[in-house]
Symmetry: C2
Subunit: 224 residues, 2 copies
Amino acid sequence: MNDSSLLLSIAVLGGTGKEGKGLAFRWARAGYRVYIGSRSAEKAVAAANEIKEMLGDGISVEGMGNLEAAHEAHIAVLTVPYSAHRDTLESVKDELKGKILVDVTVPLVPPKVAMVQMPSAGSAAQEAKQILGDDVQVCAAFQNISHEHLLDNADVECDVLVTGTSKDARAETIKLVEAAGLHGWDAGPIENSVVIEGMTSILIGINKKYGSTHAGIKITGVER
Amino acid sequence: MNDSSLLLSIAVLGGTGKEGKGLAFRWARAGYRVYIGSRSAEKAVAAANEIKEMLGDGISVEGMGNLEAAHEAHIAVLTVPYSAHRDTLESVKDELKGKILVDVTVPLVPPKVAMVQMPSAGSAAQEAKQILGDDVQVCAAFQNISHEHLLDNADVECDVLVTGTSKDARAETIKLVEAAGLHGWDAGPIENSVVIEGMTSILIGINKKYGSTHAGIKITGVER
C-alpha cells in the first residue's frame, strides 16, 4: 500500500470484464486512484488505456496483475466470474490483510442462471470470508447493477444493497457506491448476502420474461 | 370446494393477523368470496365482521376455522407467524389437494429479525412444499408488503415478487396480487423464495437504520 497517496486507491480485481471496467471508469472519473487487476497484466493495461482515452487527462488508472493491484490499493473490489472466485481470492489473500474486500460476484450456475443456487457457505460473499479469514473485512455490493450504463453518463436506475462483516466496512463501501453515482443502502450482516446475490437471478428471469436488459431494484418508502 | 360458486374464492389462513386481515380486506373489496380462517373460529368471525363494517353491503367475507376455510376456497393464502407454519400446513394439507397455496410466511428468528436465517429446506415456501407434497402447487408472495397501508385506500409503494412451483401457479397468484391493488412480477421457481423472504429481514433493518416503518422494493428498468 502506498501510504503517501493523497487519493484513496481502489483495486478492481478482474477489472477487464464489463462490470469491473464500468466501475473502474466511474471511480477514476470521481477522482480515485484506480488499479485494474487481471490474471493478464497486458489485458489490464489495455482496459486502463481504454478508460484513459474515454476520460482524458487528470485521472489515475493503471493496469497490472491482480496481486500487484491488491498490494497497491487501500480497498479491493472483486469482479470475476464465479468460476474464478476461489482461485483469485486465494492468490491475493495475503495482500488483503487489514483491508476491505468488496465482492461483486454472483454465484450463477449455468445453464439455470435464473434460479438461485448458492454455494455451501450460503453465498459467494460468505465463501470469500471463509477463504480470507478474520483479517479481511468482506462486503457484498453491486450484484444487481447492469453493466450496460456504467460506461456512459446515464443515470443507473438501480440501488445498491450493501452487506458486510462490520458496520464500518459497509459504510466505507457505501462511499464507493456514492462515488460511482449510485445510491447505496446498509443491508446488514454478511449473512444477508444471499438476498443480493440471489436477486440477480430473479432480475435475469424478469429481463427474459418481460423483455428488458437492465431490470433493477429500488428501495421505496424511506427518505433518501 | 363449492363448485357452483360464481366468484373465485380465497381462504386466508391465519387471517386474523394484521397482514392477513389487510389482504382479506383488499380481496373482499375486489369482489372475491373471502374465507378468513383461524385456529379460533370466533376470532375469524370477528375479523370478518370488522371487514364487513369497513366495506358495507355487497361483499362476501366469512370467518371460520382454518380447515373449513381451506375446504371452501379455490385458493389458499397462508399468513401465520413462522412458529405456526408447519402445524397449520399439516392441519389443512388434505383440503389443499389440487389447489394453490400462497405462502406469505417469513421465517424470522427472533431476536435477530434483521438477519437472514432460513430453515433447512431453503425457505419457508420450500418447507411448505415439502410438507404439502406434489398434489399442491406452492407459491411465495407478499412477504415484503408492510401491513400498514393494506387496510386503507392508500397506494402501497412496494412490488410483489412471486415465486412458485409452476408458471401457471405464479400467473394465478399474480392475479391475486393485482386484485389487491399491487404490482406482481414472476420471480421464477420456488427455489428463489429465499430472496423474497430474506428481503424482509433487509427491509426491517433498513426501517430501523433509516427511520421508516414501511420500506419496500420496486422493480425498475422494465416496462409495466
